[in-house]
Amino acid sequence: MKRNPVFKTIFQSMASHLILSIAVALCVIGAIVSALLPPLVLERIVDTLASGGNIQLVLAISYFAFIALTGLLESARETLLTALGQKITHALRSSMLAKLSRLSSHTLTQEDPGVTASRFVNDVDTVENLFTSGIISMIADLCRIISIFVILFVKNRGLALVLVLLVPGVFAMTRAFQKRMLKAQIQNRVAVGRISNHIPETIRTIRTIHTLGTESHMRAKYDKAIQEGYDAVEKNNFYDSIFSPIIVMMNVVMVAIVYVLASTGNASINTFFGMGVGTAVAVVTYISEIFSPLQSIGMEIQTIQSAVAGVHRIAEFMDLPERWPCDACLKADDSAPSVSVTDLAFAYEDDKRVLDGLSFEVHANEHLTLCGRTGCGKSTTFKLLLGQYKPLAGSVRIHGQDAYKIPDSEKRRLFGYVEQNFSSVPGTVADQIRLFDATISDEMVMAAAKTVGLHETIMGMEKGYDTMCQSSLFSQGQWQLLSIARAIAAQPEIMLLDEITANLDAQTEKTVLRALKSASENRTVISISHRLYETEGGRTLNLN
């Protein structure tokens, strides 16, 4: 079986923080052992008192000292566990980031960004839970139960046996309750989802609701959803309310049994259950301590269950197909044409060929327009030029080098790709143009903005190029200009224009076309059915 990439990352990061991992283990063990000590001291205190003795200050202090030690170790355990858990999530997220860059372009377009982001954020969090409040806590709780059993076995064998019989029952009951509660919680979450969806929907369709007079219908629907949530919560409330009283009752019954058995005069019972007062008090303390780890283990099982689903989703992501490595030793052949496509065939899936036998060449400073009906492969040709896909047959060469082998770092100097829609990125105006590429200087950013005629607009803003971007900062046309500036910022050789004036009004279109024209000067241009180049007499290639 192949090793799960998630666990691999977890173990690697634990190994690289070995000291921290060992310290966590020590604290876990230390807290368990020290928690066993105070009742033993208490036993001695009570026995001393029972025999009429006086209590030494040392004994009182050591009672407190063991309680304090337990507290300190618990506190240290939580601290170190948090730190280790965060180290692990950090490592997991970093490895997912690295994976993202290795994904094939096809996979990248297939994955829903929201889903992937949720793997990054939520699923990794559940893995942290799996680790900290799942496995490690469970080991700690199990050890605690076992150690209490050992002590009870030494102190009072009979009682330990009674408990051994009782514990599976208590645990089964706990699990039954927790499962029912989880079910009710899931029902509630579904209802809450419906409620929270109903409100934005109402806001979005408010005009229809008002004009059709369906207010009471919508309210009835909403009230039904909140009633479903109410019923689910009520169910959960019942289990939640009765569970802890039941546990307390069991605890009390056990304590009563301890005293009754300890006080039967029967000799055969006494060898099994007999004990001194001090032991009785200590045993009672231990009994009440055995119920809380039992409850916790139930919760930990639940945590582990839900985290396993998260681990599974991350592993799925880590196993997605990767792209081919690029070739850093490629050398551009200046005598070869800028772009040469030979007998190109391509299909996204095996059966349906999007391109078949396409050949063309584009030389320096030439303008070529691709046209044809929707779905004939215009945008696909662009993707192949950009090296996002490998040809099925034939070749796509840029200056004689296979496009798909060109390293990412060189792409921006080679291609200026203007998409139909501008994708804004978080950051300043300059960030939009630079796209976090440190090799693009401020001067280059400004030159690009000047070429598209946005420089004055940007300088007119309060912080100029350092203004933080919001959707309201620019008009639709200006965003398009910005995307042109982004494409030409690194002074690329070849412009790829993808039908960018599809959604613009006439006035804006004129501005954008003017900007495109100045951006295209002295460059090789390949565009998708654009009026500018149809009328300007560049070459046209029909892909139909």
């Binding site: 008192l49 009429g52 006086n54 209590i55 200050l57 009182a60 507290g71 506190s75 939580e78 948090t82 730190a83 965060q86 980031l97 993202l100 860059s101 960004p113 982001a117 954020v121 969806n197 109903h198 409100i199 929907e201 109402t202 806001i203 369709t205 408010i206 005009r207 229809t208 609701i209 008002h210 004009t211 059709l212 007079g213 369906t214 207010e215 009471s216 919508m218 909403y222 009230d223 009633q227 009520e234 409330n237 939640d240 309310s241 009283p245 009752m249 304590v255 005293y259 009754v260 007062v277 009785a280 390293p407 792409k411 990125v425 978080p426 796209l435 976090f436 440190a438 009004d505 006439a506």
Partner: protein
């Protein structure tokens, strides 16, 4: 279900408490019973230990212990039953309030106008309000719980300790308070680091979402490495803040407990002396010790109470504006069609730009008027004027009554509207068309030429169409919306480009059916496609802020722009 029952003024928290007085009475009775009953445990445990000792000394009998143990179990049963009821009812109290608040919130929302919802972010505030309601109800529950569990229990234990030995009790209570004070002092820091962590987590989320959504863009521009570095910086920041925040939350409680357990040294030492001197019995000793342990646990939780109450009050402040006594829903009346008279109608934006002006016409029942003009000539604005969402200039009257003077439900009894945005719900096709009406769908589906396509769908009219109808094509969405409009037919129907995504044949067929079904209504059909315009009774041409009524033939003869538009489109169709 009566979620609003007994709530007089929903904008006051107290009225929510008042409306739940029955539930709260149960909580009070059982809460007091339980918290006094808490003393039962330590007292009986102490007595049992004492009896056991006495038994060994021959001073008591096995039967004494048996009776004591039985009493212990029985009284615990009563106390724990009270506890069960208290827990159940305090949760029911919160659940009831949660339901009422959500109900009131929505009732307020649904009567807000489109204009109000669009402005000032009210929409997003309302969307967030649901989680605020949850927080609010949760805070009210915790407050109610803690009043008993912390308040009364604390008093009981403290009282018991004072009875046993008041000097020792006061001394140890003081230390307990010290741990509480430290927790209170640290609260500010805990909140601050918690907030910083949340902010960092928000930043990480948005950076990650951007990294993933724009992955293709970054790859094409060769920026993946640079963006990964930004992500990595955010990851490190997140790690640092997460550790800080979580350590403060999970590592501090054991430390608080250590501080308040300090007094145990004194208790064990002095109480032990009391026992040795014969002032106390072993029972008193164990009672005192275990009571103190329970009390110090309670005290360390007190800080939590204040936290949740504070959170709840912040949430309440946010939802309070929506907690008004809601208007009642009035259903729309069925109104017979009368004349629609429009005189010098116009519309100005808030900053005074005239979109169009000077439109006059009278439409008789049964007539169909086409409205067209170049891009941005104000066609859609004219359509919306009849909804009276914002004031218009001039006059528009239905059956002699000015539209702007009508009450909302009277107006919407007369005017139907289907806009560009089809405003579909993420529900089934059936629900989207009927919206609570009780009619047979078949005729309507046929009328919009959708019956055949629906019969091809595995789930038929029960097919769920996704958010905003994404699972349907544009043309299908338009036909669902049109069927919805026909089911809720009005005397005047304003349809804004309802056929734009339909092919020409379907458009013709749907139009024929529409005309037949609405023979007694006035239809105002806004369109940029003129295919149907030769069939209109009248045509309104809008251009350069002017709007005027005419008909197809005269526009073809006198209006070059109209003629040009019509001929280009007819040419395309050939």
């Amino acid at each position: 279900m009566m979620p609003m029952k007994g709530i007089q003024s929903p904008d006051k928290v107290s009225s929510f408490f008042k409306s739940q007085w029955k539930v709260l009475t149960v909580v009070t009775v059982t809460g007091i019973l339980y918290n006094f009953g808490l003393l039962v445990g330590p007292i009986f445990e102490g007595k049992l230990a004492q009896s056991l000792l006495d038994l060994y000394r021959g001073q008591s009998l096995f039967s004494d212990i048996l009776v004591l143990a039985a009493l212990y179990v029985l009284s615990t049963l009563v106390v724990q039953f009270a506890r069960y009821l208290k827990r159940l009812y305090v949760r029911r109290f919160a659940n009831n309030i949660n339901r009422s608040m959500k109900h009131i919130l929505y009732a307020n929302l649904i009567h807000k106008s489109k204009v109000a919802l669009d402005s000032e972010n009210i929409g997003s505030l309302m969307t967030k309000a649901i989680s605020d309601v949850d927080q609010c109800a949760e805070g009210m529950r915790k407050f109610t719980t803690e009043v008993f569990d912390t308040g009364i229990a604390f008093l009981c234990y403290a009282g018991l300790l004072v009875v046993c030995d008041w000097k020792l009790a006061l001394a140890s209570l003081l230390i307990s308070c010290l741990s509480y004070l430290i927790a209170e002092k640290l609260k500010g820091i805990v909140e601050k680091t918690g907030r910083a962590f949340k902010e960092s987590s928000g930043r990480l989320n948005s950076v990650v979402l951007d990294r993933v959504s724009n992955a293709g863009l970054y790859r094409i521009y060769g920026s993946e490495k640079a963006v990964d570095e930004i992500c990595e910086t955010n990851l490190s920041d997140y790690e640092k803040r997460a550790v800080k925040a979580e350590v403060l939350i999970s590592a501090m409680p054991p430390l608080y407990k250590i501080i308040s357990m300090l007094s145990v040294i004194a208790i064990v030492f002095f109480c032990g002396r009391n026992v040795a001197n014969g002032v106390w019995t072993i029972a008193t000793f164990t009672i005192f010790l275990s009571s103190y342990a329970k009390l110090s646990t309670k005290a360390s939780k007190a800080a939590k109470l204040f936290n949740s109450v504070q959170k709840a009050s912040v949430s309440w402040k946010r939802i309070k504006p929506f907690m008004r006594q809601p208007e009642t829903d009035e259903s729309l009346a069925s109104v017979a069609c009368k004349d629609l008279k429009v005189k010098d109608l116009g519309y100005k934006t808030e900053n005074g730009t005239i979109i169009f002006e000077g439109l006059s016409f009278t439409a008789k029942p049964g007539s169909i008027i086409g409205i067209t003009g170049p891009v941005a000539s104000g066609k859609s604005t004219l359509g919306k004027v009849f909804l009276c969402e914002r004031p218009y200039v001039g006059s528009a009257a239905f059956g002699g009554t000015e539209l702007s003077s009508m009450k909302q439900h009277d107006l919407y009894s007369c005017i139907g509207y289907l806009g560009h945005d089809t405003e579909l719900l993420s529900d089934s096709i059936e629900e989207n068309i009927l919206l609570g009406s009780d009619v047979a769908l078949d005729d309507y589906l046929k009328a919009v030429c959708f019956d055949h396509e629906i019969s091809q769908m595995p789930e038929g009219i029960q097919t769920r169409i996704g958010s905003g109808g994404v699972r349907l094509s544009g043309g299908q969405q338009q036909r669902v919306a049109l069927a919805r409009t026909l089911v809720h037919k009005k005397p005047v129907l304003v349809l804004d480009d309802p056929f734009s995504a339909l092919d020409k044949t379907t458009e013709m067929a749907v139009f024929e059916n529409l005309r037949a079904m609405c023979s007694d209504s006035i239809i105002l059909l806004i369109s940029h496609r003129l295919t149907l315009f030769p069939q209109m009774d009248n045509v309104i041409w809008m251009e350069d802020g002017k709007a005027s009524l005419s008909d197809h033939e005269s526009l073809m003869a006198s209006n070059a722009a109209y003629k040009n538009l019509y001929e280009i489109q007819e040419g395309e169709n050939k």
